[in-house]
């Protein structure tokens, strides 16, 4: 057993867990945040993507102990109170989800993609950047649209703030 402490969605948490506990299990089972999902065993589907110290990683391919001392954000920690994050809002507006299972990972990846590429990200780049996220429902078209719209929206907000 090992003690794993981290800042999870802005709150300090700590728990004594099996060394083999994956970060996704720590999030879901130890702390009951079930928005992060597990869709495969081979690190390919991306349903489990969370942010560790600001970077989008697959929480099924990281031991909880590796994230000891880190800041972790899950889909539950993305909205600002009742105000949706622009990427969340764009997924809804553009019908970027159907069954909703891949959605949390998609959204967490999308936030990271936008932070790296900015407002003018084109369709081809978004499609390529989604290499690590599988969706079986949407055919990706509306996910791509949502990310593009959110990128522009977030950039607009940034410009307005400056």
């Amino acid at each position: 057993m090992t003690t794993v402490s981290m800042t999870l969605n802005g709150k300090k948490v700590s728990a004594n867990v099996d060394d083999r506990t994956l970060l996704v299990q720590y999030i879901r089972e130890t702390h009951g945040l079930t928005g992060t999902h597990v869709g495969c065993d081979t690190s390919q589907c991306g349903s489990c993507v969370v942010h560790v110290d600001g970077k989008a990683v697959k929480s099924c391919t990281m031991l909880a102990a590796q994230a000891d001392g880190s800041h972790v954000t899950t889909v539950e920690g993305l909205a600002n109170g009742t105000e949706l994050h622009p990427v969340q809002a764009a997924f809804r507006e553009h019908h970027g989800l159907q069954c909703g299972f891949c959605t949390p990972g998609m959204i967490m990846s999308a936030v990271d993609i936008i932070s790296r590429h900015g407002a003018d990200i084109d369709e081809k780049t978004i499609r390529h950047e989604l290499e690590g996220n599988l969706c079986r429902c949407t055919g990706y078209q509306n996910i791509v649209k949502a990310i593009q719209a959110a990128a522009q929206e977030m950039h607009g907000a940034k410009v307005a703030a400056e």
């Binding site: 970077k55 989008a56 990683v57 697959k58 391919t61 031991l63 990271d112």
Partner: protein, 264 residues
């Protein structure tokens, strides 16, 4: 995943000591290969020793005519490094195409080469560029380091500390990915180095990374896609599986070599 004991190493010496004390330990860098293997119950180390936070193992620096990349430097860091882009652009491009964005944030150069997956990208770059692999015990040339499929010259308790690349005049990488896993079915790294033209292939060989001397001589004479267009590698030595026959991989080696040269 079978039960295991996790240790975070604070220094290289600490990692060595922890390894020595454990029954059947494995070093953990980014974990992007080791953890999936453990999850599938295909590996069951008694202990994992995390090198991720060892201070001296991370970072990118420019030496005298060389580029040095610490072992736990992530693919993302290599891909986005201005130094790498300036000195060896082909290497930055290669790193930008490993796995997917989430994997690139965690996966490391040291972890990748120590595992020596026959379809991994880095081995092609290290061999083509004539890189030197430095460990806690010694220095090895890339060609001595990679010994075959999932086999390296590393001893059990040996830790890669960094990889040193001589700066090349030209470099580029082209790969054709396995459509499912997106690992290389054939990845070709071409480099114009002080030691001459070098061509190294990953993903296709049944014994891991290999050089194509015929292409190298042709490129020495004429650095152009046309120079390699007519040269093919024998299919006998290539992998053949549900994703591609040896014949197909042989074709891809030629096509990717052409495209890599064209990209320089």
């Amino acid at each position: 995943m079978y039960d295991t004991t996790y240790h975070r190493a604070g220094s290289l010496q600490d990692a060595e000591a922890k390894f020595a004390a454990a029954e059947d330990a494995k070093f953990l860098a980014g974990g992007q290969t080791l953890l999936p293997t453990m999850k599938q119950r295909l590996a069951a180390p008694s202990d994992v020793i995390d090198l991720g936070k060892v201070p001296d193992l991370s970072g990118i620096s420019e030496g005298d005519g060389s580029l040095v990349i610490g072992a736990v430097t992530t693919h993302y860091e290599v891909a986005s490094s201005d130094v790498v882009k300036r000195l060896i652009p082909g290497l930055a491009a290669l790193a930008a195409g490993i796995g997917d964005p989430a994997v690139r944030y965690r996966g490391t150069i040291g972890g990748s080469i120590s595992n020596n997956d026959p379809a991994a990208d880095y081995p092609a770059a290290l061999v083509a560029l004539g890189a030197t692999i430095n460990t806690n015990k010694r220095s090895l040339s890339a060609e001595d380091f990679f010994e075959g499929m999932f086999m390296t010259a590393l001893e059990e308790d040996e830790i890669v500390t960094n990889v040193s690349f001589p700066v090349a005049e030209k470099s580029a990488y082209a790969k054709y990915p396995n459509p499912a896993s997106r690992y290389a079915m054939a990845g070709v790294f071409v480099a114009k180095t002080s030691a001459g033209s070098r061509v190294a292939v990953t993903g296709a060989g049944s014994d891991g990374v290999f050089r194509v001397s015929e292409m190298e001589s042709a490129l020495d004479a004429n650095w152009s896609p046309e120079a390699v267009a007519g040269i093919s590698v024998p299919a006998d030595d290539l992998l053949s599986d549900i994703h591609g026959s040896a014949d197909y991989r042989a074709n891809l080696v030629t096509v990717m070599a052409k495209r890599a040269v064209a990209a320089t």
